[in-house]
């Protein structure tokens, strides 16, 4: 039987990620999809640590660490430098958290996307500044507790719709992925590898210490994020949107929210508001926008 996911491991064991880290599982799958002909650029994020302190490395591909705001630009430079030296094939992947993407890195990200630079930009989104210890980012959803939104009710604003911003740049490929759907994720990276131009992959990466849940539930929460419509899986190729995991009977958002202590202060009204917003977004998405 041919396995549906490549057996090759480009990430080592023995890294220092937290138990149940969604971004770690995602990196493993990403590299299975991309293969070893890949250079990874990392701004400040959890992966600055997880990639290994010098002289160790948890990845079997070259890594270039970059300043926080500069992941996309640094990756563009690597691609240009490789091409100048005659290497047209190596894929360059920027691998950034939500802080480095939604917030401080969005200028360089927008510039690279707008110019259709030939890189893959991945945001592993765990919905806060987790490496510095759970501070709110513009990816933090409404109502989530963080150390910088400690008051009753949590984060006051809805999560920024970054995918809509990226789609407005008319890039050749955008996809969402989450570790519970491993084959879908690996397929999307393998597909992205075959496309030229700016490719954006948004990974929803559950974070046990930041979301405050039992590390054993990472895959379950990842799956529930899709089944509830909180994080729909889709891809947009040259402007055409395709939903990859249809969920005709979506589960109530409470199934996803309640196992996470970051949402423990949500009132029934708050939860109803999140349900309405999720329904609205799902409706828009299923109409192709």
């Amino acid at each position: 039987m041919k396995p549906s996911i490549p057996a090759q491991e480009t990430m080592t064991s023995g890294h220092v990620a937290c138990q149940g880290c969604g971004s770690t599982i995602s990196m493993r799958y990403a590299l299975k999809g991309l293969g070893t002909n890949t250079v990874v650029v990392m701004p400040a994020c959890c992966w600055t640590i997880l990639a290994g302190a010098a002289p160790q490395s948890s990845l079997g591909v070259p890594i270039l660490h970059s300043p926080f705001a500069a992941a996309a630009a640094t990756a563009c430079g690597v691609k240009a430098g490789l091409e100048a030296k005659g290497d047209k094939e190596t894929q360059v992947m920027a691998w950034a958290g939500d802080g480095g993407t939604f917030d401080i890195g969005i200028q360089a990200l927008s510039g690279a996307a707008e110019r259709d630079e030939d890189i893959i930009y991945v945001c592993y989104d765990n919905e806060a500044y987790m490496n510095t210890g759970i501070q709110r980012s513009s990816a933090t959803p409404a109502g989530a507790w963080t150390t910088t939104t400690p008051a009753q009710g949590g984060s006051p604003r809805p999560k920024k719709d970054l995918d809509a911003i990226l789609r407005a740049h008319a890039i050749p490929y955008l996809a969402t992925a989450t570790p519970a759907y491993a084959e879908d994720m690996v397929r999307k990276f393998a597909k992205a590898r075959r496309i030229r131009g700016f490719r954006f992959i948004h990974i929803y990466a559950p974070c046990p210490p930041g979301w405050k849940y039992d590390p054993g539930l990472t895959i379950e929460l990842s799956r529930l994020s899709v089944q509830t419509g909180i994080f729909p899986l889709y891809e947009v190729e040259d402007g055409r949107l395709k939903i990859n995991v249809p969920t005709p009977k979506r589960k109530p958002v409470g199934d996803f929210l309640r196992p996470q202590a970051r949402f423990k202060r949500l009132s029934p009204e708050d939860e109803a508001a999140i349900q309405r917003e999720t329904d609205r977004r799902w409706q828009a998405l299923s109409q192709g926008s």
Partner: protein
């Protein structure tokens, strides 16, 4: 070939002659024509490298970080606010030991807005671990870009080629543009010591503890000091091929001087006129025109100065609270010294004020005729405001 070029064009022509692989740049006055000309040269096929039009200076330098780590020869140019915006990346690139070369056209920093020449932008990047070379005319700009690549790549330390906004950037002068084959002889292709390579997967810039971090900084500090030798060697080699000599500084009529002007950038060129005029009036004036600010030629300066010859340091820059930056550096270089000369600091021409021949004569006279206290350096700078 003789051509009439503005300073900014000299920078672009030199980058093309250096066969730069990747240019990444963002427009800012008064640097803009250097990247415009490179874009034109790319469009017409005279520049074979990749020209990247980024959305900010921060991204411009980040792209060069990526491209240089991939083994490419890289170039950018900027000024003032753009340089300040790059600041984070300047540390990153020198820490990564990447020989990026950047043209930096001096312009005052806001607030308030000001577009004109002032060295505080480049000098406030003193501690970023970059080499800095100051040019006094357009030929020197072109030549120094070529020299900078050679020195930077040998030292594995990035280099800034600095000149005055408008005074040089927008002024046309006759320039000898060297032949490509001569440049190729002077500047062999860049051979990085390490680079991004999927066949040899290394991690660059990984988290490093104090034990290794201090060693890396010590190595950079030592290599930047020792690059003085590389600067001098490159200057000799340059002279052998092109017939023009560049060292750490230029001495002009210094031998028997009563006092020396110490200047950099375009005023270093005007200062020669001031020296000649003073000599014509029977005063023994001389000039020390500084080129290398990093590496700073402290040891050579200690050997060069004489107790009875005061120095009049002209600074078109200011570190608020402490005065002119060249003034401070020179005083620091002369301590300890068994018999130091008096050192006087003069701040002039901030924000693009003219530093005229007459002003420089006045500065020299001030230093030469106030030599009452040998060995004493003045602490307070003298502010030379434009009386007009």
């Amino acid at each position: 070939m003789r051509k009439v070029l503005m300073g900014n064009h000299c920078a672009a022509v030199a980058a093309a002659l250096a066969k730069v692989d990747v240019v990444s740049a963002y427009p800012i006055t008064p640097q803009t024509q250097s990247v415009e000309l490179l874009a034109e040269m790319e469009a017409s096929g005279r520049f074979k490298g990749r020209f990247m039009r980024v959305e900010s200076e921060h991204s411009a330098m980040a792209e060069l970080l990526g491209a240089a780590t991939a083994g490419a020869r890289t170039f950018t140019s900027t000024s003032s606010q753009g340089l300040a915006y790059m600041h984070e990346l300047l540390h990153w690139v020198s820490g990564a030991r990447l020989p990026v070369v950047m043209v930096e056209v001096n312009r005052a920093l806001a607030a308030p807005w000001n577009l004109w020449a002032d060295q505080t932008d480049s000098l406030s990047q003193r501690d970023t671990g970059w080499m800095q070379f100051y040019c006094s005319d357009n030929q020197e700009i072109l030549d120094t870009v070529l020299l900078a690549y050679r020195i930077a790549e040998q030292a594995a330390i990035p280099a800034m080629v600095v000149f005055d906004g408008f005074v040089l950037s927008h002024t046309y002068e006759a320039v000898d543009v060297p032949a490509q084959e001569d440049v190729d002889r002077f500047l062999p292709p860049y051979q990085p010591r390490q680079q991004l390579d999927v066949k040899r997967p290394l991690a660059f810039g990984s988290l490093t503890g104090p034990r290794d971090y201090i060693r890396l900084r010590r190595r950079l500090d030592g290599d930047l000091r020792r690059s003085i030798e590389l600067v001098e060697r490159a200057g000799r080699e340059f002279e052998r091929i092109f017939g023009r000599r560049y060292g750490l500084w230029e001495e002009y009529r210094c031998e028997d001087a009563e006092a020396l002007l110490v200047a950099s950038g375009a005023p270093g060129s005007t200062a020669k006129e001031a020296v000649d005029a003073l000599r014509a009036r029977g005063r023994r004036a001389g000039l020390l025109r500084l080129r290398a600010f990093r590496p700073f030629p402290a040891e050579a300066l200690r050997r060069f100065v004489k107790a009875q010859t005061p120095l009049a340091v002209v600074d078109r820059n200011c570190s608020p609270g402490t005065g002119g930056i060249f003034f401070q550096e020179i005083k620091a270089a002369l301590y300890p010294h068994p018999a130091p000369p008096p050192v006087y600091g003069f701040i002039a021409g901030l924000g693009g004020g003219d530093i005229t021949q007459e002003l420089l004569e006045e500065i020299w006279l001030e230093a030469a005729d106030k030599r009452a206290e040998p060995g004493a350096a003045r602490v307070e700078p003298v502010w030379m405001e434009d009386p007009r």
